[in-house]
């Protein structure tokens, strides 16, 4: 089954987010209050190793498992959408204590009220789609 590798990688993601406690509202509060290194350590390690990995992938022109070149599409250059969108996202992240991935990992932990936040996420995405042409990007 071609899709199995994505499920397995997702399982690894769910486990690491759980065991690092990055899905916990408490950890996110601690992070935004600058009272622990924990979350910064996680993100920092991931970024440093990520930068090295991407550099090596580009330098050695590595290919994916099907033999296609690994392509990196640059993000479109602008400021408003990243800044305004980012701020709105951050407000929600600090309130719920989860970003999109952890919302679903928390479901696996049977924190059922998080379904409300997931439903809200779908609504918010839908409204972005509706308002998209009227927003500065």
């Amino acid at each position: 089954m071609k899709g199995l590798k994505f499920i397995v990688t997702g399982i690894l993601f769910g486990i690491v987010m759980s065991k690092s406690e990055a899905i916990s509202w408490y950890r996110i509060q601690e992070m935004f209050r600058f009272q622990s290194f924990h979350m910064y350590g996680i993100i920092g390690t991931a970024v440093v190793l990520g930068v090295i990995s991407v550099y090596l992938i580009k330098k050695f022109k590595m290919r994916d498992y099907q033999g296609n070149p690994i392509i990196f599409t640059p993000k479109e250059k602008s400021v408003p959408r990243y800044l305004f969108g980012g701020i709105i996202f951050g407000l929600g992240w600090a309130l719920v204590g989860s970003c999109p991935g952890p919302l679903f990992v928390n479901l696996g932990h049977a924190y059922w009220p998080i379904l409300l936040a997931i439903f809200g996420g779908l609504l918010g995405t839908y409204f972005y789609g509706v308002l998209r042409d009227r927003l500065p990007h």
């Binding site: 690092s20 929600g92 839908y126 509706v130």
Partner: protein, 185 residues
């Protein structure tokens, strides 16, 4: 082995595994980014007939939905087989701060005040979770990505727009934590 895995994992292990996940996805020919799933689910529910933003070949993105299903399973595996049931060990300073807002010290992974079953009977909590989720969904699509797509994939590729997004995440998070929490709780 299982006992070791059941302890909370140190930050450097967790960060390294996250980088590995991003590289694995690249090796699979995909880009690690979770919030796109919201757009895919909207499209799969038929939003494309009314709103052009959702009129795209969402079936080509089903790999990401499989990743999402895996994430839920991973959460279930963690809580069922890899949990020692201990409370999150956050700093004393944070415990003091959240107690002032009316939250109790951690007893598990999440506060009962927001995620206990009783929370479902409080209009205020329902509104907070719905509204918070709304901002997560709206903001991540507006910014074109969330913590995975920008903070990890984007920064790893040295994309300055991703840095702007991450700075935005923190501006929003700090406004919520220091200005709005005292008004809400």
């Amino acid at each position: 082995m299982l006992e070791t895995l059941s302890q909370p994992w140190p930050w450097y292990v967790s960060g390294a595994v996250l980088a590995l996940i991003m590289v694995l996805m690249l090796f699979f020919g995909k880009l690690f980014g979770f919030s796109s799933n919201f757009r895919v689910i909207c499209a799969a529910c038929g939003a494309g007939t009314r709103v052009p933003f959702f009129d795209f070949n969402w079936k080509s993105q089903l790999w990401n939905v499989l990743f999402l299903v895996g994430a839920i399973l991973g959460g279930w595996i963690s809580t069922t087989f890899l949990s020692n049931g201990e409370a999150v060990q956050i700093s004393q300073a944070t415990i003091r701060d959240i107690q002032e807002l009316g939250f109790s010290a951690p007893k598990g992974l999440q506060p009962e005040e927001l995620f206990g079953t009783e929370a479902l009977f409080s209009l205020k909590t329902i509104a907070l979770l719905l509204g918070g989720g709304f901002m997560i969904g709206f903001g991540s699509r507006y910014a074109g990505g969330c913590t995975s797509g920008h903070a990890i994939s984007g920064l790893s590729n040295l994309q300055w727009p991703s840095l702007v997004a991450v700075v935005g995440f923190f501006i929003g998070g700090l406004i919520m934590t220091f200005l709005l929490y005292p008004l809400i709780f």
